[in-house]
């Protein structure tokens, strides 16, 4: 368990963050640029001292201002992957990787040099200087360097933010591999919800230095506070389920609560867990299941909440049995279909509007 409760004031900016997250696992710290995300992880790393607070990782106290205790950054054994990589320009890749490894305690060793180079595909450029690497390669070296310092906790500060889309797709699978293969708790700072969707177990939503919501990814996806950060267009429930079948058509069947979704899931195996986001703008509400439509999914549910949005739009929460989805429709549509809270309803989803992410 990672418990954090810190406060810091710098001029007009005030940070006040408290959360508890299970370990190991990936905690996403999500918020807009300038909301205090980097300040928060600088505090966790020990690079910044909060005015008051305490941080505890499993049975290790990292910081407790009430007791006057502060473990210096160099003795925290917290790996930090910086947004700008901060590789040492005067050392080659091998020496960069070894830098933290040499300074880490001899045991326990959770991961070795060969394993890291293999996991991150670093072997081809061990003898090269950081400045001769591409952005994605540099970020992989930075990840490897942090991992080899045998961290108790790994902090990742928007490791993909400085990369273009192609480079991002190159690095993301490595992050997924690390999540699956290693049991190092991670804190992943991001302002891209897709990264959270693909990687995180737990989300802490930060707005102007304050935690506005936290919980599992599916819980947080339903929270209205998220809308202000990701924008109206990106609002949508995240659902997790098990792949129960892969049809001859190539569509996979994902069991969710009492229902199921059919969606493209390339490479999915029966029995594996997957996560999918249903964007509110893509969902259609109907009073009967789809007939004579190209829509592949009809899920039965009940309206549990209706929230007014701008331009006569309504954000409707539908309980589909053990899970909830969000749909954005016009107020006129609700009136003409005579839908209100408590109404039974069918949710229609185009299979191709969804993309599943393996867990």
């Amino acid at each position: 368990m990672l418990t954090v409760n810190v406060a810091l004031r710098r001029g007009a900016f005030a940070l006040q963050v408290a959360f508890a997250a299970p370990t190991p696992g990936i905690v996403a710290v999500f918020g807009r640029s300038g909301c205090g995300k980097t300040t928060l992880i600088d505090i966790l790393a020990g690079l910044l001292k909060p005015d008051t607070g305490a941080v505890r990782l499993d049975d290790v106290v990292l910081l407790d201002t009430a007791a006057g205790y502060l473990l210096p950054a160099e003795r925290r054994r917290i790996g930090y992957v910086f947004q700008d990589t901060r590789l040492f320009p005067h050392l080659d890749v091998r020496a960069n990787l070894r830098y933290g490894e040499k300074r880490s305690p001899a045991r326990p060793r959770t991961i070795g040099f060969d394993e890291v180079t293999a996991l991150l595909g670093l072997a081809p450029f061990l003898a090269r200087r950081p400045n001769s690497l591409s952005g994605g390669e540099r970020q992989r070296v930075a990840l490897g360097r942090a991992l080899l310092s045998q961290p108790r906790l790994l902090l990742l500060d928007e490791p993909l933010a400085s990369l273009d889309a192609a480079r991002r797709d190159e690095v993301l699978p490595y992050l997924e591999t690390l999540r699956d293969r290693l049991s190092i708790p991670m804190i992943y700072v991001s302002h891209q919800f897709e990264e959270v969707l693909r990687l995180a177990d737990h989300v802490v939503l930060i707005e102007a230095g304050q935690v506005v919501a936290q919980g599992s990814v599916d819980e947080v996806s339903l929270r209205p506070e998220l809308r202000a950060i990701v924008g109206t267009e990106a609002v949508g429930a995240v659902l997790e389920g098990t792949i129960t079948a892969v049809e001859a058509s190539g569509l996979a069947v994902l069991a969710l609560g009492q229902g199921s979704l059919r969606l493209p899931a390339p490479g999915a195996r029966v029995g594996s867990r997957a996560r999918v986001q249903l964007l509110a703008r893509d969902l259609i509400l109907a009073t009967e299941p789809a007939q004579g439509l190209s829509v592949r999914n009809s899920i039965k549910g009940e309206i549990v909440d209706i929230r007014a949005e701008e331009h006569e739009a309504r954000l409707v929460t539908v309980d589909i049995g053990g899970a909830s989805v969000l749909s954005r429709v016009t107020s006129e549509a609700l009136e003409s279909l005579q839908l209100s809270i408590g109404s039974p309803v069918w949710v229609l989803v185009k299979a191709v509007s969804m993309r599943s992410h393996p867990l």
């Binding site: 930090y80 901060r86 320009p89 830098y99 933290g100 880490s104």
Partner: protein, 231 residues
């Protein structure tokens, strides 16, 4: 070489190189420390300290030499203490010439090192910290190597300037052949001598060649290191 340069020139050249080397070696660690204090720390009187460090740049060199004579002369407080405890005599010796030269070239060296320290990315030091490196470790493995171009530029600049130091040297340690008569002092003596024209010309050409070589070497070195550091 011996056909062109007489023993007077060779003596002066050898002495100049010795004095310049000694002065650079003595001032380097202090210059790094002072550059660090001025760049990375805040303490009361920092501005005054900064001014004092740069004072030799604006003072008449003769004044610096005179101050050294007062402090480090045989009867000066520091000079007497050094002689009593270590048997070191600075006045009228090559060691004294190195000290006077070190004081005069100190601001040049501090300036070059300071600029390079300013350019060291503090983020890299923070990264080293998260990787388990303590303060001294970080300085030795990250900060110092990254400062290297500035340090070497400072050394070469100070060395080139040291070869030409005149006023402070002649005031503090006088003009003793073979002991304190460096190139500029030998040049000055030759000019003062009725038949010294040819010697003066040879010494002047020697000084110009050394200075030029020093500056060109500094430039080449800076480029080489920038390339090595990958910038």
């Amino acid at each position: 070489m011996h056909d062109m340069l007489g023993s007077a020139e060779l003596d002066a050249l050898r002495l100049s190189l010795e004095v310049a080397t000694g002065s650079v070696l003595c001032s380097l660690p202090v210059a790094i420390l002072v550059a660090w204090l001025l760049t990375r720390t805040r303490f009361p009187g920092r501005v005054l300290f900064d001014a004092v460090v740069h004072l030799p740049l604006v003072l008449p060199p003769v004044a610096v030499g005179y101050l050294l004579l007062l402090l480090f002369g045989t009867r000066g407080p520091i000079g007497r203490w050094l002689y009593a405890n270590f048997g070191i005599e600075l006045a009228f010796s090559a060691k004294g010439a190195a000290l006077a030269t070190a004081v005069m070239t100190f601001p040049l060296m501090v300036r070059a090192i300071r600029i390079s320290l300013d350019n060291v990315d503090r983020g890299l030091e923070a990264a080293a910290r998260t990787l388990g490196a303590g303060a001294l470790d970080r300085f030795a493995t990250i900060t110092l190597p990254l400062m290297l171009p500035g340090i070497l530029a400072g050394i070469v600049m100070a060395f080139a300037a040291a070869l030409g130091e005149f006023g402070a040297v002649i005031t503090f340690v006088a003009n003793i052949p073979g002991e304190t008569r460096t190139l500029p002092l030998a040049l000055y003596t030759a000019i003062q001598t009725p038949s010294g024209d040819a010697l003066a010309a040879r010494l002047a050409i020697l000084s110009i060649s050394l200075g030029l070589a020093g500056l060109l070497f500094a430039e080449w070195l800076a480029r080489y290191i920038r390339r090595r550091l990958g910038r």
